[in-house]
Amino acid sequence: MTQPEADSWQPSQLQLDRIRYRRSRTRRSVLIALVSTVVVLGAIVLFVGHAKGWPDTQKSFFDVRAGWDGLGAQIKALWLNIQIMLISEVCVLVFGAIIALLRTLQGPVFFPLRMLATVYVDLFRGIPLLIVIYLVVFGIPSLHISYLPKGSFTLSIVALTLTYTAYVAEVMRAGIQSVHPSQASAARSLGLTHGQSMRYVIFPQGLRRVLPPLLNDFVSLQKDTSLVSIGGAIEVVLTALNQQSQDFKFVHYVVAALIFVALSVPLTRLTDWIARRQGWVSGGAII
């Protein structure tokens, strides 16, 4: 096996000059960026710092001590949000897949199912989540049907699942339909039934393609778990609200916001990683 020629290659003077030139340009850009950043930030600091309401704002929004003291209670309440999030996500994945598959069924015999699925998706993407929560959390128990759940925990999960399934189903359907039809042809040609083709060939591919938008919907779902507070349950945002109504400082909301961001960051980074692996991100920068 001969060594590749590249091992003995040395850059020519021309190439070295090019490199030197590009480096100097880069250095200049970085310096400009740095200086302008400092100038802008400095201007903001000066401007905000001398605004009339700044000390009060600082005391209300950035009182680190008060925020830190309230953190414990919020973390405790966070467990409720996490439980709702996990259970809802699983339900949404399952039902979303079912609805998506129903919508992709072909043939006149399946028309009623397709229509039902379409009506469901249109309905629950149209109704604001807030209304769904009111209807489900307060409306269903008001029917006094004994075997239906009554607690706001369960009903909030139901409300979130109903709404988010509609969105996720559409995303999954887009994924399924984006798989090249020749994949279906190849699968059917081997003798696989429609169901088998969907299960082993089309759906796995379709799902992989739409993982980023799918995870996007889940990040949204994580935040909407705070709406369980409408049903009276004490979760993070309500805890922050209570803390704020005690000492009138908005820093508690800031803390709650940071908690939610921390919660969603793993998911968003995972989304980015998957997107890169799938080749969504376009190639390197042009010089």
Binding site: A186, A187, S189, L190, G191, V201, Q205
Partner: protein, 254 residues
Amino acid sequence: MTSLTKNRPLLSIRDLRKAYGSNVVLNGLSLDAAEHSCTALIGASGSGKSTLLRCINLLEVVDDGVVELDGRDITDPRVNANEVRTKVGIVFQAYNLFPHLRVLDNVTLAPRKVHKVPKAQAEDEALAMLDRVGLRDKANARPDDLSGGQQQRVAIARALVTKPRVMLFDEVTSALDPELVGEVLELIRELSADGMTMLLATHEMSFARQVADRVCFLDGGRVLEHGTPEQVFGDPQQPRTRQFLRRITDAGRL
């Protein structure tokens, strides 16, 4: 009885009609393929070669006409299409393999799920088939890691492993780089020599000349001319056949 079955063609197509909206692609096409024969289908784009193959393996529903396999009318709506498709293997021009599965899983999918072959046995048979096409060492690779020619050979292995009665090849080398075409054609030649009945839609005229027992020229949705390669390529009767072949020659592909 034996002589009858011996003389009966494996695949018999009569008066096939298929239209897409107002576009009539197959217009009363008739064709017979004897067992163990290799039939080459040639013709211009849009002459119906792909559609014909897709009608044979029931990916398309015919508008009229009959397709008989082993004497059985497979275009009858009461026939179980999935079952028929295991007897008709097809290899397409592109996007053949399932990209999310390993090569080995690509080949074992149908045996395991359709024929309910146990996993170990399916994998053994798959490896044997991959060996047959010269790609046993790629069993654990992903389709994307293979060259176009290798992918097509895996696709052929995948179709063969269900032990079909007839193999259909739909322009399987048209999307390949020229240097990869040879390995696929070589495999097809071997299969034909082993006795596989096949229909081959192709632009590779020289290959058709060497391997096919019969050549059918499709034009206007029917078989305009057919015969042995010597007859069709050497002495075409129909003017349109001559015109087509002349164009092919001019393009340097004969």
